[in-house]
């Protein structure tokens, strides 16, 4: 199956051992989108590396941006001002909604819900419009900087976001009325691709796939970052660990993301959006004409960046697909000595072999869809 099968969303080849229509064994052949990002990180300064990070999981770039800089921040010990943290939370939750919307649309498409795709695309576009209005780019936002974010929110942006928050619940209801109680949707997903909590932990999966099996693990709750502990939200947990529960998890997560967004809009802190530590963050332009020191900082940051202490750290965030981690080894220079990414798609896809044994070929499509892997993230 593959490498250009439409259900693989990216380029994935799965070698299936079949007995008629029954799958006996499967071997996922990945690496078609391997671009050597981990090697490339070693050649770029910490600030330059940000633009690589969002090209890995191209459906949730803001979350990759935050994951990357949080590793650097952990290494250097830089503080992030509250406003920057809130802006990061807003961008990450928008990314979560848009990624899950895309998942809904494409997985529906794989299973024959053609109309759903257009609804999902319409709604996802609203989130991309917000990305564009903030960063100028619809997908590859690269909006984080070490110690904060690159820009403050533009005028009128919060109103646009409020419209999005207001309109989305009804759109999700629409979507659910089409699928949640649909008998065909049930037949395709219920009881398919079941994985128990024990097996899910053993297989190393995270995110909605792990939670659908009944394990209450979400990085945002377990190890809060960017001030997630201040927001009131729930982590949906399933029971059956089948494809249908994974679908339910994602829809429920979108509703929780909207709750977080509303709270972030209501309580958005004022103040600076990037650290005042001139060793890692550029000075404001207004200072450049007045202060020689600012010019020196600007020159050093632009020409060679900043250095981190010797050591290794692991920082992680909750991506729509699970735990996205960055293991950063520093030798004291201005570039990562080694940057290992723990991509959730890679870890979740590893469980495919176990999940598809004994199912029908048609169910492989449903199972692959329910794992929600992104090959760019998986192959790096």
């Amino acid at each position: 199956m593959g490498p250009h099968h439409p259900s693989t969303h990216g380029v994935l080849r799965v070698r299936l051992k079949l007995d008629g229509e029954i799958v006996r064994d499967a071997d996922a052949d990945i690496g078609y989108l391997h671009t050597g990002f981990e090697k490339s990180f070693e050649d770029k300064t910490y600030t330059q590396g940000i633009t690589f990070s969002d090209r890995m999981d191209y459906l949730a770039p803001p979350i990759n941006n935050v994951g990357f800089v949080s590793a650097v921040e952990k290494l250097t010990g830089v503080d992030v001002p509250p406003r920057a943290q809130a802006i990061r939370v807003i961008m990450m939750e928008l990314a979560r909604v848009s990624s899950h919307e895309l998942w809904l649309g494409t997985t529906g498409l794989d299973l024959g819900v053609y109309s759903g795709f257009f609804y999902a695309w319409r709604d996802r576009d609203l989130a991309l419009d917000l990305n564009e209005a903030y960063s100028g780019v619809r997908m590859m936002t690269s909006f984080t900087r070490v110690g904060g974010v690159a820009w403050d929110l533009p005028d009128g942006w919060l109103d646009q976001l409020q419209k999005f928050i207001d309109v989305m619940p009804a759109r999700l209801d629409d979507f659910e009325s089409m699928l949640t109680d649909n008998p065909i949707w049930h037949q395709r997903l219920k009881g398919v691709g079941v994985i128990s909590a024990q097996d899910a932990i053993e297989a190393g999966v995270t995110g909605p796939v792990l939670r659908a099996s009944g394990v209450n693990y979400d990085v945002r709750k377990a190890f809060p970052y960017c001030g997630y502990e201040q927001y009131d939200f729930e982590v949906p947990v399933g029971q059956n660990g089948d494809c249908y529960d994974r679908y339910r998890m994602r829809v429920a997560e979108m509703r929780q993301s909207l709750r977080i967004l509303q709270q972030a809009v209501d309580n958005l802190p004022g103040g600076p959006w990037i650290t005042s530590d001139r060793k890692v963050a550029l000075p404001p332009r207004s200072e450049l004409s007045k202060s020689m020191e600012a010019v020196i900082h600007q020159f050093r940051l632009v020409s060679e960046g900043f250095k981190g202490p010797v050591g290794d750290v692991y920082a992680f965030v909750e991506s729509p697909r699970g735990e996205l981690g960055f293991y950063l080894v520093s030798d004291g220079t201005n570039k990562p000595y080694r940057m290992k990414v723990r991509p959730p798609s890679f870890c979740n896809l590893q469980s495919l072999r176990k999940l598809v044994q004994g199912v029908l070929v048609a169910d492989v499509i449903a199972i692959m869809g329910s794992l929600d892997f992104i090959l760019g993230d998986c192959d790096r």
């Binding site: 690496g31 692991y314 981690g325």
Partner: protein
């Protein structure tokens, strides 16, 4: 803060495995231990069974060409219940770098160790399926080694000959 169960973990490991625990460090709250390769599987079994580190996060390696042994191999595991992490490190030396595989303890290590073999050329003894995973099976070299050039391709100058290929043929 309540008592952190990893506070005394290094000490417990040291009591049990003596000199096999070669080094330990706590940098920015990340706990790492360097374990002698021979004792690695036993330490891993102990960590999983007795200390509750049930979840493997990733495995990878770091190349230090000037050091001997040259490679540091890293596994990081988490206890979901206690919300703690520990990074297990060991070393592998040239010319034939190899370390024990931890797939028998955490099955999730399977792909991660394959990836480390693929990109660093470190063998994992006892791995059930050690094949390349990201690079094509025919690929030569190990891309994440520091002596592997990231960009560039061989260039043939007019006074050189590539086997079976005349210089003029390349210039077109």
């Amino acid at each position: 803060m309540s008592v952190n169960p990893t506070d005394t973990l290094v000490q417990r490991l040291g009591d049990r495995f003596k000199t096999a625990v070669q080094e330990s460090s706590d940098f920015r709250g990340d706990l790492s231990v360097v374990i002698e390769p021979g004792a690695l599987v036993d330490v891993a079994r102990y960590l999983k069974a007795e200390e509750g580190f049930d979840y493997l996060l990733y495995a990878t390696a770091v190349d230090w060409p000037a050091r001997d042994p040259r490679f540091t191999v890293v596994w990081e595991v988490r206890s979901l219940a206690a919300k703690t992490r520990i990074r297990i490190k060991t070393t592998a030396a040239m010319p034939d770098p190899h370390v024990p595989s931890l797939t028998s303890v955490w099955t999730a290590a399977n792909w991660h160790e394959r990836e480390t073999w693929d990109l660093f050329g470190i063998k994992f003894d006892g791995h059930p399926d050690l094949r390349r995973i990201l690079m094509p099976p025919t690929w030569e070299g190990f891309p994440l080694r520091k002596d592997y050039v990231s960009f560039g391709e061989p260039v043939i100058f007019s006074d050189q000959k590539l086997e079976g290929l005349e210089p003029d043929a390349i210039r077109g």
